[in-house]
């Protein structure tokens, strides 16, 4: 028994060290890849023009949009390679006719194409006799599952980096006057934008000096207190901005509640009503619903740009000149993006082509918003805490959006019965049954016992995933924190923190297995952690020391 226990702790250690190494190489690969992405000159030029004319706050919306684009293109590529191409190989002919109406409704001709779950076969595909076979069921569930795991860790890392860079060092947020030392946006290179910014800063200083800004907050607070008492106490915990930023937060939260309610009600309807109904292929029905939602949302986004920016500019310059040019509403636009991405994530399981469609729609939105911005909007007047808002958007993307999606997908995969007549999981009791049955067949082969072991001890171990997430979050947070911990000794500190976390992990495993921890193995593992990049200094004077 002792041997088995120590073997399992050894196994855990080797797996974790392998995982850590894999993460490091993945990150290095990501860095080299982003160097080559630089060749996508179009993005660089477009983003630079936007930043030069409107500043970093509006730029953050477009960078967020670009980031979501990469999620979708990645999903499309892996779906295409692992699910769609094999399905093309094993496709049945499509008997339905194509009329133009299908583009809007998603039904009809499209039902017998790779667009929807229902078309996919549940067979193991053999192209050559006695050649390699391709199990469609496992491919479908593993591709979607792997994509969500990668999304999960990507979001976790980005959140850690953003949160620790932008929130950790904020002590008491006082000092409005000294903020002036760090407000100048060096990105702006358009003369008119520079003059506008100077004028705004001047107005801000004068108003601050006069103390008039002090009155705005209590008035807004009383109004909101009358309407949303529930949120006021929670918002009171946030830092008190004496600028209209406070008002922006409240508006965004109202919008979030509205969108969460919509998505929540839809998911409830899909899971409880559509899935239980006796219809022929409920997954395809859900897929069609989501396709229509995505399409309508895309149209409304374009319309919103037309009415909210183009018409508003016409009104503001010809009929009602006191209104002036509209400003780009960053909060509302980012929430629309998050809503669209949430729909896409829910829809991946039911419509594998959806990320590709969403990629095209986001690209069009990028172009339309950019043109609308240049033609119709003026640079923002209010102070917008870009870094903190970006972190908040990422948090919103993670909770409730991504976590909500994971729960819906989890319920679908584990609890719902796939339809009998269509799709790769027809006939099974649940989609997950494909994996558990596969594991059962593997248990009979002695060569694959390690896969079964991983499945039983790691994948099904919730504790393992929780600790892995904490580890990932903490390690990435330390790496990106701006605090004074980032001295020469921080690598040692990082190792100590990691050691503590590993100690906790091993302690719990030990309690489970009552084995012994091999101290040599532990020490060996700590020194195998790859060392992160060192510091760099400038070409000229190297007197940049952290002296006090």
């Amino acid at each position: 028994v002792g041997n088995l226990a120590s073997m399992s702790t050894n196994g855990s250690l080797t797996f974790i060290s392998f995982f850590s190494f894999a993460l490091q190489s993945f990150r290095r690969f990501g860095n080299t890849l982003s160097e080559y992405f630089h060749l996508l000159w179009f993005w660089h030029r477009a983003l630079k023009i936007i930043g030069a004319n409107f500043g970093t706050s509006v730029l953050s919306y477009f960078i967020f949009l670009k980031w979501l684009l990469t999620f979708n293109i990645f999903s499309f590529l892996i779906n295409f390679s692992f699910i769609i191409i094999p399905q093309f190989v094993a496709a049945e002919p499509n008997n339905l006719s194509f009329t133009g109406l299908e583009l809007l409704t998603g039904a009809g001709y499209f039902q017998q194409t790779v667009l929807y779950y229902g078309f996919y076969t549940n067979a193991t595909i053999h192209k050559i006799e006695n050649g390699p076979s391709y199990n469609m069921q496992l491919a479908y569930i593993f591709t979607v599952g792997l994509y969500f795991v990668i999304c999960f860790f990507t979001l976790l890392f980005s959140m850690a980096k953003s949160f620790c860079k932008n929130f950790m060092d904020l002590q008491t947020y006082s000092g409005n006057a000294s903020k002036i030392l760090c407000t100048w946006d060096f990105n702006i290179s358009n003369e008119k934008a520079v003059k506008l910014k100077q004028k705004n800063l001047s107005t801000q200083i004068k108003v601050q000096n006069a103390g008039a800004a002090m009155l705005v907050l209590p008035i807004v607070a009383s109004l909101l207190n009358a309407f949303i008492p529930f949120f006021y106490s929670w918002l009171g915990c946030l830092e008190r901005y004496q600028t209209p930023g406070y008002h922006v937060y409240v508006t965004i939260i109202r919008n979030i509640i509205l969108k969460i309610s919509i998505v929540g009600i839809l998911c409830y309807y899909w899971v409880n009503v559509v899935a239980e109904s006796e219809s022929q292929c409920w997954e395809t029905l859900v897929g069609q619903d989501i396709y229509r939602l995505v399409l309508v949302d895309f149209i409304f986004c374009l319309l919103g740009s037309f009415f909210g920016e183009f018409l508003r500019r016409i009104i503001g310059t010809t009929f009602c000149v006191s209104l002036g040019l509209p400003e780009f509403d960053i909060g509302r636009n980012v929430l629309d993006l998050i809503y669209a991405q949430t729909l896409t994530w829910i829809g991946i399981l039911f419509s594998p082509l959806l990320p590709g469609i969403q990629f095209i729609s986001f690209s069009i939105v990028f172009y339309v918003k950019k043109v609308s911005l240049m033609m119709n909007c003026q640079p923002p007047r209010k102070v917008w805490k870009t870094a903190q808002m970006t972190t908040s958007f990422m948090f919103l993307l993670f909770f409730p959006s991504f976590v909500g999606v994971l729960s819906v997908i989890g319920v679908t995969v584990w609890r719902l019965k796939p339809s009998e007549e269509c799709g790769p999981f027809r006939g099974l009791s649940s989609m997950y049954a494909a994996v558990s049955e596969w594991i059962k067949t593997l248990e009979n082969h002695t060569a694959s016992k390690w896969v079964v072991w991983i499945y039983h001890n790691l994948i099904t171990s919730v504790l393992f995933f929780f600790i892995l997430s904490v580890l990932a979050f903490g390690k990435n947070c330390l790496r990106h924190s701006h605090s004074s911990l980032k001295t020469k000794n921080y690598k040692d500190l990082e190792s100590v923190v990691l050691l503590q976390i590993i100690g906790i992990l091993l302690n719990t495993r030990q309690q489970a297995h009552e084995g012994n921890i091999d101290l040599n193995l532990l020490v060996n593992f700590v020194f195998r952690i790859p060392i992160l990049a060192g510091s760099r200094t400038g070409l000229a004077s190297h007197q940049v020391s952290t002296n006090c």
Partner: protein, 190 residues
């Protein structure tokens, strides 16, 4: 972008990559833009040529910047005070203003840029000139004397920890550390 790659020697490129925060593409683009500022005859020896300040200020990224003169003064290594920049000075500047430069480096150089009289601290006159740059020289946006006094009083109250009437580097860095937007706004990308 194609031809310039052959003009910048590879060892120099590797060295610049090591010593600055810039990527290979950024260095090559900087080389291209720098040689465009030189007259045609001098473009062969772009690495050792010096570009006069008036030419540097024609760059669109610096043309409208209120701190353009200070930036040229801080990054120029010209001994005779004419603020001309060599290619290495130019790279140094881009490195500090790049995406990957650390907060320490940026705040150090921001301090030097704001230190108009170059005495190592930000005293009242430095802060006055700084505020003038930020609000512009137009009639409407200039601050009156009383408003300027009030503002500088507030700034010194909040940031001058040792109460010596000036802001030194560590007090400045302390203020910067409380503003997470600084790193993304203190950026110039070609």
């Amino acid at each position: 972008m194609g031809g310039s790659a052959s003009l910048l020697p590879r060892e120099a490129l590797g060295e610049y990559q090591e010593l600055t925060f810039l990527t290979k593409q950024e260095i090559l683009l900087a080389y291209k833009r720098f040689s465009e500022l030189l007259p045609k005859e001098e473009r062969e020896n772009a690495c050792s040529a010096r570009v006069p300040k008036s030419q540097i200020l024609t760059l669109p990224e610096l043309r409208a910047n209120p701190f353009q003169h200070r930036i040229c003064r801080v990054f120029s290594t010209s001994g005779n005070g004419d603020d001309s920049m060599s290619f290495e000075d130019f790279l140094d500047m881009l490195s500090v203003f790049s995406d990957s430069a650390t907060l320490d480096i940026k705040s150090h150089y921001a301090f030097r840029i704001f230190d108009f009289d170059e005495d190592g601290t930000l005293d009242r006159s430095d802060l006055e000139k700084l505020v003038d740059c930020l609000t512009g020289q137009g009639e409407e946006s200039r601050l009156s004397n009383a408003e300027m006094e009030q503002l500088i009083q507030n700034i010194l109250e909040e940031s001058d920890i040792d109460k010596d009437g000036t802001i030194n580097l560590s007090e400045f860095q302390h203020v910067i550390s409380r503003s997470p937007d600084f790193v993304s706004s203190f950026k110039i990308v070609l």
